[in-house]
């Protein structure tokens, strides 16, 4: 088993942390995992992304050209990764920041209004967690429960009080995606 995930968005959208949480959860599930940020010309501002690879065996390349799993938190990310995706993969799109539909029919595109959901829960910063929840619907190797455990273990102390809201974000995203995936399949 090997699954590669790319998470991409604007600088402040919590892209890197979202990847780390998945990496923690995968690790706690006894998987091999790598997390790598894109660091480069666009260090200051601009888009940020990270790649997470989860596998049963020693992981080779920590980077992936044609990912099976992508979270695109904004339009530029959506535009960039949609064409790169593996056939049959799942692309979670933050519908709140995107004004177009899917161009590819050979992948599963899941639209989640992550911003709105986050705001409903009461914290705009949870956008990333909504999207992560949505992704989990296509990533059976990591359960919502392990991800919650991982969050609990690794959220900085000063944010621990936000755990319930994080959990809610995850589940709302998960539910939203499951519905759509059920339809697709």
């Amino acid at each position: 088993m090997q699954k590669e995930i790319i998470i991409s968005g604007f600088g402040g959208q919590g892209v890197l942390f979202a990847g780390q949480v998945i990496a923690y959860a995968a690790m706690d599930s006894g998987k091999q995992v790598t997390w790598i940020p894109s660091y480069g010309p666009e260090m200051r501002g601009g888009t940020a992304n990270c790649t997470v690879v989860i596998a049963d065996q020693e992981i080779g390349s920590p980077l992936v050209k044609n990912p099976p799993l992508v979270i695109a938190l904004n339009l530029p990310s959506y535009d960039k990764y949609e064409p790169m995706m593996q056939v049959g993969g799942t692309l979670v799109v933050n519908q709140s920041m995107v004004d177009r539909g899917a161009k590819r029919a050979d992948i599963n595109t899941v639209f989640v209004s992550a911003n709105e959901i986050a705001e409903q829960i009461g914290d705009k910063k949870l956008t990333n967690m909504v999207a992560v929840g949505a992704l989990l619907a296509a990533l059976p190797e990591v359960t919502i429960e392990t991800l919650e455990e991982a969050l609990k273990a690794h959220l900085p102390a000063r944010h621990q009080h936000l755990l319930p809201k994080n959990y809610e974000a995850l589940r709302r995203g998960f539910e939203s995606a499951k519905e759509q995936l059920a339809v697709i399949v």
Binding site: I36, Y39, G60, S61, L63, K65
Partner: protein, 370 residues
């Protein structure tokens, strides 16, 4: 120890601390800065020495000074900063004091960029400083290996009174992976018979210097280094093998290039192609012998690096023209994807290869599209 998710650069820093690092001297440079920043907090916490030096030149000479006293000491930097340390490294080698230097390599030459590269292989392995010396050079490909090799680097440096470098590309430095830290080793000072830590009423005075004004004495010193190097070559070669048993094509790559190749190898195996991977862990001493042996039984080699083919020449030296050696490299901070290497494997499995044309030239032709 349980596994934790560690970022490569910070893992190296903590591993050094646990290996008994008594002093760190460094200067910020991307993509290495986390090593320095981590130790700027961690070392004072433990009452150990940390100095943000005025420059890499200052840093390497602070390392040199502390190394003379016999304690465990290191610096870290990235390509341009390491170039500034060449004189100091040559002095450290010439004085035969142990020291550890980490190079988180980036795109070059010149200011280049901060993306991952492996283009300082020759500098590290074949001597960027003046004079005849050899450095032990370790090349981790994962965060766990970065930890383990950092610890090892101190042991080897001390054992052989040698400079020991850990060279990694920015990928390994910036990547997070689950890894296990070794136990904290208490700092303890060895009773060396060479270190200049002052007489303290216990012994005759000692001098540490790299001057041998009489050429015959300098030659003796050079021979001493060379003979020591033969011991190191005999005892310290390390590499990792993947699917070599029945391999007809063998890929050789270190660090990230090696692990990217692993993905390609797995894919190729899944397609029924008999390909294996040799990943040097010590790039100096270089695993000549195992390549020599492989050259006697495989059909071809593919060397893959994130540079223009620097280790390639060491492989060719070991293969001695017996079978074709092909090359695939990306440069300037570009990290290859597995499918690029898979393409090379396919190509090699298909066409008849020639050992006549230099693999770099052939690769350059293939790169014409870039």
């Amino acid at each position: 120890m349980p596994k934790e998710l560690w970022k490569g650069n910070e893992a190296i820093a903590e591993a050094a601390v646990r290996a008994g690092l008594e002093a760190y001297f460094g200067y910020p440079i991307t993509p290495q800065t986390e090593v320095l920043e981590y130790l700027s907090r961690r070392m004072p916490e433990l009452g150990r020495a940390f100095v943000q030096a005025e420059s890499e030149l200052g840093a390497i000479n602070m390392v040199y000074g502390a190394a003379c006293t016999g304690v465990r000491v290191m610096s870290s930097s990235s390509s341009p900063g390491v170039s500034l340390m060449m004189e100091g490294i040559s002095y450290i080698a010439g004085t035969e004091v142990p020291a550890v230097l980490v190079n988180v390599m980036r795109g070059g030459p010149g200011l280049g960029n901060i993306a991952p590269a492996q283009a300082d292989y020759n500098q590290a392995v074949h001597g960027g400083g003046h004079g005849d010396y050899q450095a032990i050079v370790l090349a981790p490909a994962s965060v766990q290996e970065a930890i383990d090799l950092t610890v090892l680097s101190f042991d080897l440096a001390e054992k052989y009174r040698s400079i020991c470098m850990v060279i990694l590309d920015g990928c390994v430095g910036q990547m997070m992976e689950p890894a296990e830290m070794p136990e904290m080793k208490p700092v303890h000072r060895e009773n060396w018979d060479w270190n200049t830590d002052a007489k303290m009423g216990k012994r005759e005075r000692r001098i540490l210097s790299s001057i041998y004004l009489d050429p015959v004495e300098e030659e003796k010193m050079n021979l001493r280094l060379l003979n020591r190097w033969r011991t190191i070559e005999a005892n310290e070669v390390r590499y990792k093998e993947y699917f070599l048993d029945d391999a007809e094509i063998v890929i050789i790559g270190f660090g990230t290039a090696g692990r990217v190749a692993l993905s390609a190898v797995r894919e190729a195996r899944a397609q029924g192609i008999k390909v294996g991977l040799l990943r040097p862990i010590t790039v100096s001493p270089f695993p000549h012998k195992v390549i020599d042996q492989l050259a006697g039984r495989v059909d071809a080699f593919l060397v893959t690096e994130m540079n223009s083919g620097q280790m390639l020449e060491d492989v060719r030296l070991a293969v001695k023209g017996r079978v074709p050696v092909e090359f695939y490299g990306r440069m300037g901070g570009v990290v290859p994807f597995p499918d690029e290497i898979l393409n090379e494997i396919h190509r090699m499995a298909k066409v008849k290869l020639s050992a006549d044309v230099h693999p770099r030239d052939a690769w350059l032709e293939r790169m014409a599209h870039v």
